[in-house]
Symmetry: C2
Subunit: 524 residues, 2 copies
């Protein structure tokens, strides 16, 4: 445990304000405030990057890949299920070919929209349509802050990060372990982590597909946390998993097992090929997306073989690499193009779309910010429904940063405010206020301004708007320094969300029993 | 003169590469390379922020402001011109009222598209339609770099900045003095600066509207530089001016004089109300844009009274202020909303649209980057044709930063690459390459990759894509440090563009004579 994970004071948050449109604004008073938890919806039309004909050429090329080249499917039961549903499965090979009609027929069963249920119903999330969900970073092996530097993940940091996710309304759900707690043995890590997640947070969460037992344990923890029967759970998606294909064109045992377990229980699967152009996919963005699309369609179709109507999402994670080093790049122009193209494909199939807020920067400098905002630009304009790694991500995902977490919270809140429809009432059009002030006057003291100024604008938590002289006199703090102060202030006032004692007991018993049993195999 | 303005070496730029789409890419070799100078065009539909009916309500509210409230017009000749064209001008007041029909009829004469002519025809620019022009920062009183800190502008820094504008293809034109050279007397500053601009650069440039003489001198310098007669110049816009109204609702002498001089000579005027919501305009974004629109329409209509068909642009510069300090904020959600709304209005009137790449940050940190990319996001999605302050802007425009200049060059090049249409040829769709590599293979060494990898992706000039360990070993450089190194490397190899000796002589004679005559009055 670090000094930051055991706060001594638990002061309540200052009162929240809410007015005008859907987004609350921070008032002018001192102290931290934030917009209320809410479902973000984009009022904007998505930006197409190709014509309908061009989109069809991508779609058809992907279907050719699935029928002519096929995928390697390493999981015997999965191949049997595929054969049963009409795929071309032969006894002497892992290679499976899929007819265009089979794929088309199956993916039509993917629901366009559904609800992801949290144990706190106020934190339920709508997936699909114009909705946007911001999910915390998942799976970083390292974490960092400017006080203690960069280090491998541990349980104390893991807990700190999920506390930050709980207490910031703009982080809608837990997208995996923000940092891997490597001080917890892999056999029981999922049990320790998921128990922490469902007690320290009351938001929707992610279950890793790393072998059948982990999926089953995760689903059971979701069921217990929500107090449902297994039958009820099947109709109420309450957790999700991300399935990354082994690009190019391989589907391995844990991912097939993950789809079987999650889809059969009606829990959400997000099929996300990790198609880095020039490495695991063609160097051309169009070609990388053809491959992404083939792999995503195969995974989505398989989820519908397991259970028709099982909730799923189309994940896009195509980016380019630094061709000198092979290092992945994010938030690049190529990344944005792939985001838009992926979104257009997902809309063609009418399946919710997942993208990410990613960057390759090693510290929270200008690069981290511009790569992240470029990523968010792509997310919004591509119609992304599920923004994975929305907060905390650095170093191409190898590090979860405390300071980046706070910076991203600010960026996400700004995006949410941008997406809040304009007030166009006659009062907002302000012709009378303009008349009252008149030519050469000023609006600072006008009644129209006085009645609105406290909540008229989004008040950022990181941006330093002082003039140069005041800022320099204050020591010329940069954004990373503001972020560093903020996360410590915030963690110090974390409060655990309430939980029914009976549920807490059942959860404790289940986790204790599974740990006694040895947890899950570690040969994944 | 500083150490950086007199480079000792003038090594030529490494060879440029150009392939695939419209944008050249840097190859993998060492040394600086950049995409060729080219007209940027957005392939994307603009993002509307309001419905057509809602847009009409903004338009009608602006027309009510113009007819019911009117504007103060401080310039006698301008009021006479307005009266002559049917505006409601009375002898005992500066207040002028404009009928809706008068405004509508006049602005219909604004051309939708035109060419801005540079003295180097290869640097001509298309204004309007889907074209985007990136213009360097104008009018900062201070400049800064991390070696020498922040200081008032001087001629050496001024010259350095315009050299950087000349040598970077993504900066399409000179948008005023990047920094005010306060060591040059105001009476002759415009002569010294414009002579420098037309000799050290061969790009389109801006003329300040600070009294009749400065406009006339600027137009004459543009004429001489292009070797045209005055009659020829009238049909070939070769310089531009930005007219900022005195919001709220005032049009002062220099701005009216600027429109009279520039429009009568067929040079471009960009009418840009500076409507900070809560200060010079209503605190509501809709209200601030109603006022922006009223002021812009009045200025545009006046330009068409001066000369029907005179080239003009609709400028939007609405943003919010920090309501605690009154300091202007930029790159905020409110700024982006105003950008989209302004763009939608300009499209309604079919007049080219100007917006800006602005930020309020005091240094080139994460804040500078996110505010700038949010601004650029608004520029692209609003269909901005002319991006003013596209490179170099810090501190809400109070400082031109060497490091921000290089960062913005990278950001603009990334935006340009994002706007380059995807290659969707069968070869780019890469089904055969996917087949050749097959499941579980890798694309690094494939012939499809080998043939393309050098120029497949945009290679950023600032981003550090090394892994954490290599980056830390190299001293953990942040983006501002990379930018600092770059501008020095670049300035060291600046080369002056060629100029016809006869033009150089005529220009020198004109400037020398006007300086002998005492330049222009300084009581503006």
């Amino acid at each position: 445990m670090t000094e930051f994970s055991t706060p001594n004071e638990t002061a309540p948050e200052p009162g929240r304000t809410r007015r005008g449109g859907r987004t609350g604004k921070r008032n002018g008073a001192s102290g931290f405030s934030q917009p209320a938890f809410q479902q973000i919806r984009s009022p904007f039309p998505c930006t197409p990057i190709v014509s309908d004909d061009e989109l069809e050429s991508i779609h058809l090329a992907s279907l050719r890949v699935l029928s002519e080249i096929g995928l390697e499917v390493l999981h015997d039961e999965a191949r049997a299920i595929m054969k049963e549903h009409g795929a071309d499965v032969r006894p002497d090979t892992h290679r499976v070919h899929f007819d265009a009609e089979l794929i088309t027929e199956l993916i039509a069963h993917c629901p366009s929209e559904y609800t992801l249920h949290a144990r706190n119903p106020a934190h339920n999330l709508h997936m699909g349509g114009s909705s946007m969900i911001f999910s915390q970073i998942g799976s970083a092996p390292n974490c960092s802050d400017t006080d203690r530097g960069r280090r491998p993940g541990n349980q104390a940091d893991f807990r700190n990060f999920i506390k930050l996710a709980q207490m910031h309304n703009i982080i809608h759900c837990i997208g995996g372990y923000p940092v891997e707690p490597i001080d917890v043995h892999p056999s029981v890590r999922h049990l320790e982590c998921l128990r922490d997640i469902v007690t320290l947070t009351d938001k929707v969460f992610h279950v890793y597909s790393l072998g059948k037992e982990r999926n089953q344990d995760g689903i059971e923890i979701a069921r217990i946390a929500r107090g449902l029967s297994r039958e009820q759970l099947q109709d109420q998606p309450s957790c999700m998993t991300v399935i990354n294909t082994n690009s190019p064109l391989k589907l391995d045992v844990p991912m097939m097992e993950g789809i079987i377990q999650m889809s059969s229980m009606g829990q959400a699967v997000i099929i996300t090929p990790f198609t880095l152009a020039g490495a695991m996919a063609p160097v051309t963005i169009a070609g990388a997306v053809v491959q992404q699309n083939a792999e995503a369609l195969a995974g989505l179709a398989f989820s519908q073989m397991v259970r028709k109507g099982a909730p799923a999402a189309y994940g896009g994670f195509t980016s380019n690499v630094d061709m000198r080093s092979g290092a992945p790049a994010f938030g690049t122009p190529e990344y944005m193009k792939a985001q838009l193209l992926g979104g257009q494909l997902a809309r063609r199939y009418d399946i919710p779309y997942r993208s990410s807020n990613a960057c390759a920067a090693n510290t929270v400098d200008a690069q981290a910010a511009y790569e992240s905002v470029f990523s968010l630009w792509g997310c919004v304009q591509s119609g992304t429904n599920f923004v994975k790694h929305a907060a905390g991500w650095l170093e191409g995902g190898l590090c979860c940063s405390y300071e980046k977490m706070m910076l991203d919270i600010d960026l996400l809140q700004m995006v949410a405010e941008f997406l809040t429809p304009l007030d166009l009432s006659p009062d907002a059009l302000a012709v009378d206020a303009i008349r009252d002030v008149g030519p050469g006057g000023h609006f600072f003291g006008s009644p129209h301004t006085q009645a609105r100024y406290k909540t008229a604008f989004y008040a950022p938590i990181i941006s330093d708007w002082r003039n140069y002289e005041s800022w320099a006199q204050a020591g010329a703090p940069t954004a990373i320094e503001h972020a560093n102060r903020l996360w410590k202030e915030r963690l110090a006032i974390y409060e655990e969300p309430p939980m029914d004692p009976a549920i807490r007991e059942e959860l404790g018993d289940f986790v204790a029993r599974r740990i006694r049993e040895g947890g899950a195999p570690t040969d994944f």
